[in-house]
Amino acid sequence: MNKNKEQLLNKRYKAEKRFRLYGKSAIFMALLFLTIFIFKIFSTGYSAFKKTWLIVPVTFDAELMMLEQNPSKEDMKDADYYDIALKSMADLDPNANEDQENELKRMVSYFFEREIKRELLKDPSLIGKTKDVYLTASDDLDQVFKGNYPRDLPEDQRRVTDYQLKIFDQLVEQGKVESKFNLSFFTYPDSREAELAGIASSFMGSIFSILVCLMIAFPVAVLAAIYLEEFAPKNRFTDFIEVNINNLAAVPSIVFGLLGLGILLAVFQLPRSTPLVGGITLSLMTLPTIIIACRASLKAVPPSIREAALAMGASKMQTTMHHTVPLSMPGTLSGTIIGLAQALGETAPLILIGMVAFVNTIPGSPLDPAASLPVQIYIWAESAERGFVEKVSACIMVLLGFLIIMNLFAQIIRHKFEKKWS
């Protein structure tokens, strides 16, 4: 009898130990995957925050720029910079033949003459003088400098020629190559040239989409939730609505994209590729999430508070607006933010409504064409150039950072504004 009891006790202890072990290993697995994922993203992405510059002496030859004597600022803006730009690159190797001059030109970014122009507009006294100008290196040389480029491939299999490498190595030796923080990644719109591509257009697109989404989804969802939870009679019909709302939360996002395409673009003729349409489409997705969060937090308000208000002679509406809704707000808001974070990471519906189009301007309003961060990731991941590989990871890092901030905010709201009741 006694022995039997001891056995049972041992068994219980062992079972408990085993269970703890399972739990710990589950957490370990989850953390492991997360670490691998984050490590991969960071190790490929961090280099995108650096950009390689070639320091090239440029002679601002007024004649080549077709400038008159004492040019005005306007004249300088209209001047021709291509020739001096070309010349300064060609001058890197005085013995270069015509083909090699062409190769030299391709060592810097496609719009390198703009960088020269900017320099002159900053300091008009440069005319007739020579100055070392920072020129953005081409994306391939950028990768070479970062050590991401397979230099040992046979020449016909890579885009950087042996001649370009030779000149580049010389420049490196002379200290004429510099790596600096890549500000343009944040301030430039998308570009076909990897070295000039930035996330400004997609970032603004995401912000505008989320704002539109918030402005539509939040009021509608909160009103719907309050009505359903506090005012609607509980019957079969409201049960039916509830089931449908829960179903809506599980509908694949691409379906909402089709809806946006078929209704917002085809029927209502709203402008294609804009954050307005994207935001409306996303709001359809976010709506059920917010409704569910809001109803749950309304349910969590103790009935004693409602009774107290009603017994004081508050009407149903006063009870709801003065007591129940304010008390449910922390839960509602954090649910809203989580819904918005979901919407922020959504790609499929935005692709369908055309936010995948190549946009090389920064949108100034929700009515301008724009991409969004996840779609930008998709666009870059599709691109063949080596320079976009690190940009994809960097863009993911920005998106993740954004999401972490939003979720942190949701946590803070929940903790800070959650009132304790007896």
Partner: protein, 251 residues
């Protein structure tokens, strides 16, 4: 003087009948205690008096409850006006998760009883004084009401109820969550409050009913078995069941 007169009250929760043909008159400016074992319907009856049963979807109330010669179950009765006249204190202290001041000022605000900040301050002060809480909280009126002790919270709820100067105060086991000292304070308070208000109190404690009330009604299984002056009910009950209950033989 009869303040509330109820005639033939039947209450149903869905198909289940909770109260059977209750006829009970409540005397003005006296304390009436409703006693009986759990689930006997005394709280249900109490909640009929300010129509709090309206909140429960499946609950139906039949019969006539006259307050000041006005049937509160009549269609023309506005529950908001009714509840302004008939305050309620609940079993568990349920202050709003707001400041002490806001707890008291809420009722007067929604009923438009104060024209200025000064008037409101005065209402808050008198209400808290009447609830014997002023001394303890006058320095922290703008701290949350939920930070008070259980007994203080219940007195805050009483102060909140009297802030709109109700004619009747319903109390649903107001001391069941409190310790004996807090209970004694509340009982003292009830005695004081009956000068200005008619009080109906549901209680599980026979001793409490005997201490605070002038009239007592005994409920059992949804029926009003006996009612009358507290003295008579406790010393000389007519019904066998009443006698069994107050002597502790069941319940």
């Amino acid at each position: 003087m009869i303040k509330i007169s109820s005639k033939n009250i039947d209450v149903f929760y869905g198909k289940k009948q909770a109260l059977f043909n209750i006829n009970l008159d409540i005397e003005e400016n006296q304390v009436t205690a409703l006693i009986g074992p759990s689930g006997c319907g005394k709280s249900t009856f109490l909640r009929c008096l300010n129509r709090m049963n309206d909140v429960i979807d499946i609950c139906r109330v039949k019969g006539q409850i006259m307050i000041n010669d006005f049937d509160i179950n009549d269609k023309s009765c506005d529950v908001v006006r009714l509840r302004e006249k008939i305050g309620m204190v609940f079993q568990k202290p349920n202050p709003f998760p707001k400041t002490i001041y806001e707890n008291i000022s809420y009722g007067p605000t929604i009923h438009g009883m104060a024209q200025s900040k000064n008037e409101m301050d005065e209402i808050v002060e008198t209400s808290l004084k009447k609830a014997a809480l002023w001394e303890e909280v006058q320095d922290r009126l703008h701290e949350p009401g939920t930070g008070l002790s259980g007994g203080q919270q219940q007195r805050l709820c009483i102060a909140r109820a009297i802030s709109v100067k109700p004619e009747v105060i319903l109390m649903d086991e107001p001391c069941s969550a409190l310790d004996p000292i807090a209970t004694a304070q509340i009982e003292e308070l009830i005695d004081e409050l009956k000068k200005d208000h008619t009080i109906i109190i549901v209680t599980h404690s026979m001793a409490q009913a005997a201490r605070v009330s002038q009239n007592t009604g005994f409920f059992h299984l949804g029926e009003l078995i006996e009612h009358g002056s507290t003295d008579k009910i406790f010393k000389n009950p007519e019904n066998k069941k009443t006698q069994d209950y107050i002597t502790g033989r069941f319940g």
